[in-house]
Subunit: 545 residues, 2 copies
């Protein structure tokens, strides 16, 4: 049996566009011999549609598009993900996260998602009512179990036993020859390997091949990595579709294993590919074709520039280096060296005169008070203002270049260097920024080595270094991972061997800077817990623990 | 039977502080003769604690505080709201939204909330597992039904039949003499009257008095308005506790109706009180004592200044008026007139020299391109920068003064006039801003009449008026209400009699400006659908409908 895996990249709410994408992939799979074609979860609506589903015409237009899709099918069935209404009299949420089995011009079956994740980045119980029963679909003498994403995420792979049902067991109990899954499973580090292990385990447990079709592409903060796959009935991964790229693959889940290349689980490579895809999709799906960013000579802006040039082409990346009296000439030199290497345009715009004018303006109000962090922030905000001016005048989307460590402790200036439409590396701790930069420079120099090797500095006062204010990044990042990603208390972190005063200082800085992150640009998630959609902290609160 | 209603103002995560607040109110109620004391939903934890509950020590510390509270009780039972663990082996979410019946030094009963709202501003299924059964508590020969907030929000008052259970019916079927409800029900316009109607209806239906204790105070974007009440068994509202203020009231739900003053449902008064409370709590619970804001001579900043001066005292409000070449002298004059009237300090800081310096800085890059919206934004951003400088230097929380109409269509400058820690009136459509301003000026002049009567202008280019760019505010606000609050499609709005081109222009502006609102300061919610926590739209999307 030949099954087409259409690992496509839908755009949220783009029914005509997504229908076209699905049909093109459907036809490509048929050309390659597919007898049944899978698409990702909510492939017609894009995932996650969030509150768009409440718009009065969202579901009606989705159903219209589904009818159109159905009309285009012949004898090869197509499984498409879409949003359906819950019955008006049926208690619960107004919608269903649904999949339709389209065949011979009509909708033959409708499947509702049973397990609705409502944790981390997921809010499905806000919108959807779970399916009541899981029934195999009889087709060509085979019994096919159709599941949607979370339906196969069984207890061992969740943080706790979230659900009192197991759709895979329900289907297996009714008898299936094949299990298929339509997913929109977002990337974070380690997730592709986790999915392989989980899906192999399911296949082995129910003694049935599993064909897993995941979405690829980015929508807002979530990057979907694809990595669709097939597990044989023995639990072995037979086919591993490449990640981070749209592709169609026709597979036979009952055939002996193909000799696919072993999976590439190199962490910096995954991060880099996720960020390139995330940036490209954010910018282009928003209707922009080019970006601008400030180049400081530091590693964060350098890494962001490399990613942008790769994602959009160097001709679509515009740099500005904005030295002050406190900037080293080396920083300007490094900025231009990077721009040269990447082939992007960079201009130099000194901020001295604007800084003087602003200080002069506030002088009567400040009334002789000494310079302090106010004036440091002024410089960052003048740069942010100049970047937005360039963005406005030339219609680039401004990228902000802050990393996760500084966003965590607020070592960044709101309305200054935090300005931008997308925070490309805001989920990368500083130590990861270095790791990815070194990986980019493997056997070559793209980012100037000087940028990587010099001590990091915001250059907002004479001879400033990050480590004047912050603990060494290895320690900072170690503590942040425990505090932010694992929700540990200060006592628990100290018990791991970190110095108490450092832990408490970091804890307080993280808590106090919630308000800045509330106003931060959306960032691309690559770790298990990013600041952003999956982490929802109150700003006004007094918990210490 | 005398019941104490402790309408208190908890702070999220402040277990020691909330325990003190609860105990003080408990004792005050006992002094006044209470035989049983009610506090609001999650009174010990504050509502909503959001992802704080995932912190490893949050629930343990909450339970510790509950034990302490229990130890302080004697023969008068105290009902306190708290967060409990779900049993580790019990499938579902890790926590319970709980109430504890504390008496004679111990926890006598634990009640789980049954209906968990997961819509609008609520995310309870992200955290909590619903209670399995509702059982009356036998006390002093009476059977008391204890419910938590949503448990009494029955089908007629929800957007659709969300739940397949009705805790009030379950309790009534088992027999109750009294129904009590612990709530943290946030304010929006019309909600107090809605609650009276609903609770009166419940009392009438189950033929039992209802005592309703609601939280008061603000946490982030939500303002809890109090308005606790008692409905007699005949459905009549016997007691109406005042709104927007902490208070303890001892009531006898079985006694004949008191002669309470009729409820004040004046809309501008409710809005004004909600915003004063919301601003005061946001600022002081964050640890600030003072605010600053830009005074433009326009109505938005004027209204915000009045609210701030009322909430914090005029000595804690600091204004700056920042005229440009395009500002009328009238605007500066009106700003000082308002500051005089309120007794707040205001300084004048012209932005001309800074504007020139910034334009000069970008001249080589802009390469002769004509002035456009870039230079308009520059002015707004210089002002934003100066306000943040004042905030940094003198440690004021900066208020941003934009209204809902301009935030909707993006008629505001990100990193400029959008700068600030709190967006005080960002849920007030411009027509409401005028309504509240006129209400403030009832029989007197606090806001200069000139500010109210002149045509609104951003004053970013010569002789600019809002209506050069925007439809008249009556039309804009009418369309926005249908589009944003009621999720109507453009066609449906046009069918209401609005001009199609205007509707489509507004729709496009609202959709395109989602990215700006993503980075907006938190605002205080006063309508049924604010931008912010209760509205979660994707930024990258292509739905038009």
């Amino acid at each position: 049996m030949k099954i087409g895996i259409a690992q496509i990249n839908p755009v949220v709410g783009d029914f005509p566009g997504n229908a076209k994408r699905i049909l093109a992939a459907y036809r490509e799979c048929i050309e390659a011999g597919a007898e049944l074609v899978l698409t990702p979860e909510l492939s017609l609506a894009g995932y996650p549609p969030r509150d768009l589903v409440f718009k009065s015409q969202f579901v009606p237009k989705c159903l219209q598009a589904l009818d159109y899709l159905a009309g285009e099918t012949r004898d090869v069935p197509l499984l498409a993900g879409y949003v359906d209404h819950n019955h008006p009299k049926h208690p619960g949420k107004p919608f269903r996260n649904a999949a339709a089995w389209l065949e011979h011009g009509e909708i033959r079956h409708r499947i509702w998602k049973t397990l609705l994740p409502t944790y981390d980045v997921f809010d499905e119980r806000r919108y959807f009512e779970p399916g009541e029963s899981c029934d195999p679909i009889l087709w060509n003498g085979k019994r096919i179990g159709v599941t949607i994403c979370e339906d196969i995420w069984t207890e061992d792979y969740l943080q706790r036993p979230f659900y009192d049902r197991d759709p895979v067991d329900e289907l297996a109990a009714k008898g299936i020859d094949l299990l298929v899954n339509l997913s929109a499973s977002p990337f974070h580090l380690g997730k592709p390997a986790l999915r392989r292990a989980m899906i192999g385990g399911i296949a082995h447990r129910v003694k049935t091949p599993v064909v897993y079709c995941n979405a690829v592409g980015a929508n807002d903060q979530l990057v979907f990595d694809g990595h669709s796959l097939v597990a044989g009935a023995n639990g072995r991964i037979q086919v591993q579709v490449p990640g981070f790229t749209e592709t169609c693959r026709v597979v036979d889940p009952f055939a002996p294993a193909e000799n696919d290349a072993p999976p590439d689980d190199c962490e910096p490579s995954h991060i880099y590919q996720a960020l390139v895809l995330g940036l490209r999709d954010y910018v282009t799906k928003c209707g922009f074709s080019s970006v601008c960013l400030g180049l400081s000579g530091g590693i964060d802006s350098a890494l962001t520039a490399v990613i942008a040039a790769d994602a959009l082409g160097p001709q679509n990346v515009r740099g500005l280096t904005m030295p002050s009296a406190y900037s080293s000439r080396g920083s300007v030199f490094d900025s231009f060296a990077l721009a040269d290497k990447l082939g992007i345009r960079c201009d130099e715009v000194p901020i001295g005169p604007a800084f003087e004018a602003i200080k002069q303006t506030m002088r009567p109000v400040f009334d002789g008070k000494p310079e302090d962090v106010t004036e440091e922030n002024m410089q960052a905000r003048i740069r942010g203002l100049l970047m937005m001016a360039l963005s406005n005048k030339e219609n680039h989307l401004l990228l902000t270049t802050g990393n996760k460590s500084e966003l965590a402790v607020g070592y960044c200036t709101i309305y200054g260097d935090m300005n931008g439409g997308l925070a490309v590396i805001s989920d990368l701790p500083k130590t990861r920024v270095y790791q990815v930069a070194r990986w980019i420079n493997r056997g070559r120099e793209i980012i100037p080595w000087n940028t990587i090797d010099k001590p990091p500095s915001a250059e907002l006062r004479p001879d400033q270094k990050d480590q004047d204010t912050l603990p060494p990044y290895e320690i900072l990042d170690g503590i942040l991972e425990l505090y932010v990603e694992h929700h540990m208390s200060a006592d628990e972190i100290v018990a791991r061997g970190f110095e108490e005063s450092t832990v408490r200082w970091i804890q307080r800085r993280v808590d106090l800077n919630e308000w800045k992150r509330h106003q931060a640009a959306p960032g691309l998630r690559v770790t298990s817990k990013a600041f952003g959609i999956g982490r929802r902290m109150p700003i006004v609160q007094r918990f210490v623990g």
